[in-house]
């Protein structure tokens, strides 16, 4: 292990930070904090992308990092915080599964993700191949958060965390996607958040609450 170059070790540290942030999001109940954690995740992503760009000498990744910084650290958290303030959903209600159970399931998922990534990492040639397991774990944890949360705003945050994990997986296995695709995804996410925002107001208008339990009334019997 000592043979690893400094940059790679730094990358591993960043990846570990990303995983830690995912667990933190899984346990965090305050919506505002959740948004901050999401912004932090974006910041770590930016840092790791910059690092990869510098070590692998890939100029297009600088653009990618800049895009991540503006959209995921700047624009989206700002939008979400505004939404939280205007909707007045400071506190999320109790998650569907209690937090310790959620942590245990999360642990199992991380182990599963690492086991899954082992054969793929062995095939990859990039400097970042060791981090694929973490990327998969971030995706699965975000999915878990999507399932366990009740309100609509936290659903969106989970969705964005999922996207972060996918982005990290892409940069760590193949040095990122082509610029056009990345721009497209960024736009999609942005538009998605806008649409969600509109839906929130509609849902609240209809049910006087953002709790998704009310949507069960929509089922056809």
């Amino acid at each position: 292990m000592s043979a690893l170059p400094f940059a790679t070790q730094l990358l591993h540290v960043l990846a570990a930070g990303l995983l830690l942030l995912s667990f933190a999001m899984l346990t965090q109940r305050r919506t505002r904090r959740l948004v901050v954690l999401l912004a932090w995740q974006g910041a770590v992503l930016t840092a790791s992308t910059l690092l990869i760009a510098a070590t692998a000498h890939l100029p297009h990744l600088y653009w990618s990092a800049a895009l991540t910084l503006t959209v995921k650290v700047g624009l989206l958290p700002w939008l979400l915080l505004r939404l939280v303030r205007r909707l007045g959903v400071e506190r999320d209600s109790e998650p569907l599964v209690n937090v310790p159970t959620l942590m245990l399931v999360g642990l199992a998922l991380v182990i599963f993700a690492f086991g899954l990534a082992q054969p793929i990492s062995a095939l990859a040639t990039t400097v970042t191949r060791q981090t694929l397991g973490i990327a998969l774990a971030v995706i699965l944890l975000a999915f878990l958060m999507l399932i366990a949360r009740r309100t609509a705003v936290t659903q969106v945050i989970g969705f964005l965390a999922l996207e972060n994990g996918l982005f990290f997986a892409a940069t760590s296995t193949t040095y990122g996607m082509p610029m056009v695709i990345e721009l497209g995804i960024a736009l999609d996410v942005l538009v998605g958040v806008f649409v969600f925002g509109i839906f929130f107001f509609q849902i609240r208008e209809q049910f006087d609450s953002l709790d998704l339990q009310h949507l069960e009334a929509l089922k056809e019997d």
Partner: protein, 667 residues
């Protein structure tokens, strides 16, 4: 590869059809532009298609192929014009021209869909039918087939504001898709693992017999659904009456024939005959459909439903001929196979003519009286002499009376049946005469049905006072009707011309052409000594007898004419209510074939002051076969609905678990 001398202009004509359809959208609300200008042009194009199709029937015509630079990458459209497609193109063009001319006069302002849209759907329907018979690969065939189904669906649902019509359209669409699915599977079997979608590859590929049988059964199911073969016929009596009359004529006269074409193409060309029981199965289904259709037509009280059931009967006869041809071919009796095949083809052509003619005539009646129930019509021969005369030609033709065309094909079919004792198989030898008996019975029942159809609508006295204001069809409609009636007479009087037209097809599919008759008006397909028929001589004889009688009557009775009310058998007055009704006319059939129907009847009690008699005749297949399937589908759907919990978390859990399971597979 020879230059596409015929295919290129043919494709041009099909493109003109599509352009005519698109031109209708320029002024979609203008009936004058769409109906009076575009539809007659479409009729001219149809004549061109018929001419090129007819050219492909000439002796020594080599099949023409053309690969179009259209379609998906690496999967271009293949076209092929041979005798079989030429025959069906001629059928499409000849009958289509008459229907288009009629439609030009038929469509009025403010009925359902805008005329421009209707014109587009109509011409797309025509073009897709032409492409179905020209397709030389499974891909283009399915594309054209589905286009045909969809465009006709929209035409059926023209008056979509009426719930029954929506329901009929949905049933039609559903059955069309079930059938198309079977065809897709059939082609999937036919390519035999080579993934070559051209018909040439399928023709060459030798399938194991078991798989060939699977392919044939799928094709029989798929094409049978489109043709309305019993028990796959349920959509037909619903969809035909729901559509506007020219569309009913197109569906019954032309679209059902594409199914016949498809079965011939797949069963006799691509699979080249196959086992003997294929033919027996097709024949049995055809005979069943023929009987079923004739019996049900006899008890109908809606004139378009009556014709729809009559279509089932005629399709049954055509399938009987096809099945007999396949049976004979499987035993190596090529001359007999050619005879049965020629009978089936000519009957298909005849049916396109006379059934279109009759559907169009009902359209004229419908427009003139706004009535389609037979119980409210009657006596229209006085108000609508043109329609009555031309419909009479169609009625006599469909009833199989000489010297019209229906007789020719039914005579040929019976000739084919009568020659079958040569089949070297004892069991089949016992069954085939039964088939001949069923054909004869069907022909008789068809005559009965047609007497009812014509007698109740056109003869007798008007059953409703409003019928006194009925008006005859316009001149465009008359041209269309007259063209089709002329076709009926022409085929009947010059049967050898029709038989010659089938020579190329029988040569290709049955291995031999029939022997030529002594003259264009004289056919003797088996042996001149055994049986021959001359339409022209018969016509001349009939005209002679009529003329002599006429002259004699005038000579002997001249000046002694006394006018009295007819049928005044002791009754001082006669009211329309004393006439035989449609129900009354069909009553003997309802009695004799009672177990075939599902009858619900309300008979009033003797003391009822306002007596009401109600009878409802249903199809047993609907209750015994289709409703259980509907129930089963609903049951499965309800079982699947358990998954629908209405909770977002549960739905997310579904996709999460699926993801995990898939990842475990990778692991």
């Amino acid at each position: 590869m020879n230059a596409p001398m015929h295919l290129a202009p043919l494709l041009g004509l099909i493109a003109v059809w599509l352009m005519l359809g698109a031109a209708g959208l320029v002024q979609p609300r203008s009936t004058g532009w769409v109906a009076r200008v575009l539809f007659p042009l479409g009729a001219l194009v149809a004549l061109g298609v018929a001419a090129i199709g007819g050219a492909a029937l000439a002796d020594g015509f080599a099949p023409e192929r053309w690969v179009l630079p259209l379609g998906l990458p690496d999967l271009p459209f293949h076209l092929r014009l041979d005798a079989l497609s030429g025959f069906f193109l001629a059928l499409l063009g000849v009958a289509g021209a008459g229907i288009s001319m009629f439609a030009a006069g038929y469509f009025r302002e403010g009925e359902g869909t805008a005329p421009g849209l209707l014109g587009l759907q109509y011409h797309v329907f025509l073009a897709s039918m032409a492409l179905v018979v020209l397709a030389d690969d499974a891909y283009l065939f399915m594309v054209a087939w589905e286009t045909m189904a969809l465009s006709s669906y929209f035409l059926v649902a023209t008056q979509h504001r009426i719930p029954e019509i929506r329901r009929a359209g949905f049933l039609y669409l559903l059955m069309a898709h079930v059938g198309a699915l079977a065809l897709l599977l059939c082609f999937g079997v036919l390519h035999g693992g080579s993934w070559e979608m051209t018909f040439d590859a399928m023709r060459g590929g030798a399938l194991p017999p078991a798989w060939a049988s699977v392919a044939f059964l799928l094709a029989l199911f798929g094409f049978g659904t489109k043709a309305g073969l019993v028990p796959l016929h349920v959509w037909l009596p619903e969809a035909h009456p729901a559509a506007p009359s020219p569309v009913s004529a197109m569906m019954s006269g032309l679209m059902l024939k594409t199914a016949v074409y498809g079965l011939l193409r797949v069963g006799m060309d691509l699979l080249s005959g196959g086992a003997w029981w294929w033919g027996l199965l097709a024949m049995a289904l055809g005979l069943g459909s023929a009987m079923f259709g004739a019996v049900f037509a006899a008890v109908q009280t809606d004139m378009k439903r009556l014709l729809a059931y009559s279509s089932i009967e005629n399709i049954g006869l055509i399938f009987t001929g096809v099945g007999l041809a396949m049976l004979c071919r499987a035993f190596g009796m090529h001359a007999l196979a050619a005879l049965a095949l020629a009978a089936a083809l000519i009957h298909a052509f005849n049916h396109a003519l006379f059934k279109s003619l009759l559907f169009l005539a009902t359209g004229s009646v419908l427009h003139a009286t706004r009535e389609r129930s037979l119980g409210k019509l009657g006596g229209l021969i006085r108000r609508m002499p043109w329609v009555a005369l031309l419909a009479l030609v169609g009625t006599l033709a469909i009833a199989g009376l000489p010297p019209l065309n229906g007789f020719v094909s039914e005579w040929l079919l019976l000739q084919a049946f009568l020659s079958t004792p040569a089949i070297p198989h004892a069991f089949i030898n016992m069954i085939v005469p039964l088939g001949a008996a069923v054909v004869a019975l069907t022909a008789a029942l068809a005559g009965y049905v047609m007497v009812k159809f014509y007698g109740v609508i056109f003869l007798g006295q008007p059953r409703e006072p409003s019928l006194m204001h009925a008006h005859d069809a316009g001149w465009l409609e008359r041209i269309g009707l007259a063209w089709l009636a002329l076709g009926c007479v022409a085929v009947g009087v010059l049967p050898q011309v029709a038989l010659d037209a089938t020579a190329g097809v029988t040569q290709a599919l049955a291995g031999t052409a029939l022997q030529r008759g002594p003259a264009p008006w004289w056919i003797a397909p088996v042996a001149t000594a055994q049986a021959s028929y001359s339409g022209l001589w018969l016509l001349a004889g009939m005209l002679g007898v009529v003329a002599v009688t006429f002259v004699l009557v005038r000579r002997l009775y001249h000046g002694r004419v006394r006018r009295t009310p007819p049928w005044n058998c002791g009754y001082p007055w006669l009211t329309p209510r004393m006439q035989d009704t449609a129900e009354g006319f069909g009553q003997p059939i309802r009695r004799i074939f009672g177990p075939v129907f599902r009858i619900e009847r309300e008979v009033p009690s003797p003391t009822d002051s306002a007596p009401r008699y109600r009878i409802r005749i249903d199809d047993r297949f609907w209750h015994a076969l289709y409703l259980p399937i509907v129930g089963a589908v609903r049951g499965v759907a309800d079982a699947v609905a358990v998954l629908q919990r209405g909770r977002l978390a549960v739905y997310l859990l579904y996709s999460f678990l699926t993801l995990i399971v898939l990842l475990v597979f990778v692991l």
